[in-house]
Symmetry: C2
Subunit: 294 residues, 2 copies
Amino acid sequence: MATALFPPELNSKRQLVDDALSGYCEFDSDCPQRLAEAIRYVVLAPGKRIRPLLVLAATEACSGDVQQAIPAACAVELIHNYSLIHDDLPAMDDDGLRRGRPTCHIQFDEATAILAGDAMIPLAFEILSSIDDVSVAAESCKVLARAAGASRLVGGQVDDLAAEFADRDVGVLEKIHRRKTGALLTASLELGAVSANAGTQQRNRLVEYGQKLGLAFQIADDLLDFRGSQTKMGKRIGKDADRGKMTYPSVLGETESEMRLHQLAEESIAALEIFGDLATPLENLARFVVNRTH
Amino acid sequence: MATALFPPELNSKRQLVDDALSGYCEFDSDCPQRLAEAIRYVVLAPGKRIRPLLVLAATEACSGDVQQAIPAACAVELIHNYSLIHDDLPAMDDDGLRRGRPTCHIQFDEATAILAGDAMIPLAFEILSSIDDVSVAAESCKVLARAAGASRLVGGQVDDLAAEFADRDVGVLEKIHRRKTGALLTASLELGAVSANAGTQQRNRLVEYGQKLGLAFQIADDLLDFRGSQTKMGKRIGKDADRGKMTYPSVLGETESEMRLHQLAEESIAALEIFGDLATPLENLARFVVNRTH
């Protein structure tokens, strides 16, 4: 397997996203300084920015303008980052390390961490609702709101927390990750399509790509946790197994997980056929997800 | 002072809101049952529904249609209710009783309470973004997102938590409550105006009314806490003073707080002059806020 280098053409886009996020996380004097610091500490930490890059690559696949999709790219990253803060809380996964740094509630305190996450959700919708084209604004809010809601992101986290008590079944596992990881990845692709005013067929294909990629992403994550090194992952590893959580290697075994990962990646790329060469960035992202080492 | 009876014409509107909220809090099978139960436990608890009633009364003042404003009325109530759940958490105000019943983290558990709140924020934006008129949808999302964000609702809560260490100054106190209580009340009025496609002058007057009412509301709450009974309030009373929190009676004294409350209520009603008789429900709400006994 090739080493997972980050596709170089994506680095400049990542910079666009980082700059825009930094701008969105400037607050006026009515925002308490400690709250602003906590939000910036998390949002501006070095991250892969997979979701924003999916938004931008999806909009390009639909012949849209990358600049116009930047607000959506930042909004979905804010939702992802809030979910990391809350997932790490003592009452949830109780994690002290994230991206190689102390988690938000360790660096600040629990109340600040909860409230930082709470503020990042409406910020995402403030950004989307400020998009000039009101149809795009409203549709983008709807897509992200559904993905972040009780039947998707949050529901997946609830079931993931309960999963140590559940039957070890790949169906249960996929239902968790279709919501916990998959919903936001799929929403990223839909947001890119909405920004480009794409048609139903394009949007459906992107959703299909996103659903496959979402499961592939989770299998890759589980495999990295299973055999990874803490340094590269920037978080405590082996923790899922320690805690009796279901993971793909623990349910399917390492070899079958690896096979399933590659099969899903192939299928995700196959869903992109109608886009021709415009889908190259999406294909590269799929390959990166499969081959990443951290 | 007259006894604070709930204005009778508002009871039927409250029923409309309660029915709509119950519908919005029906979830599909992808939502874990425990999560759905926690959300319904909080949202469908008997409440005064002050914010939804402000949305509806504001839309009426602007000659809008009450039915069309129901989504906005429910959205703002969801944001209010999420903030109650999170404020009650052990890491925040650590409260076990709310509206006469165990708080969400006591009735369920801390993780479920955090996640129920987390799911209610995007639900509010899903409801608003689904409004048929996309301009109203986008503008409503923007108004609510700002009010719920780092410089308003959440910022006010951060400073309120820190206020036991702050100078006892009425300016500090008003800055907290302008954001913690005032922002959502003002947003409620703006949402009503947006739903009615009201002009700038109408919207500005409603904001002025909302700002005065927001402070009046907080003074009334502090006075009730100061001299109230736990049974009527449905929550632990005297708790603010016990914990050394700044309140209006503790900063200004009971008599001056009472005077300020009535002055603000008068001023809030004066701001409604341009609306003529259409503002009667808003005037009644202001009187109710001042005179309420729980």
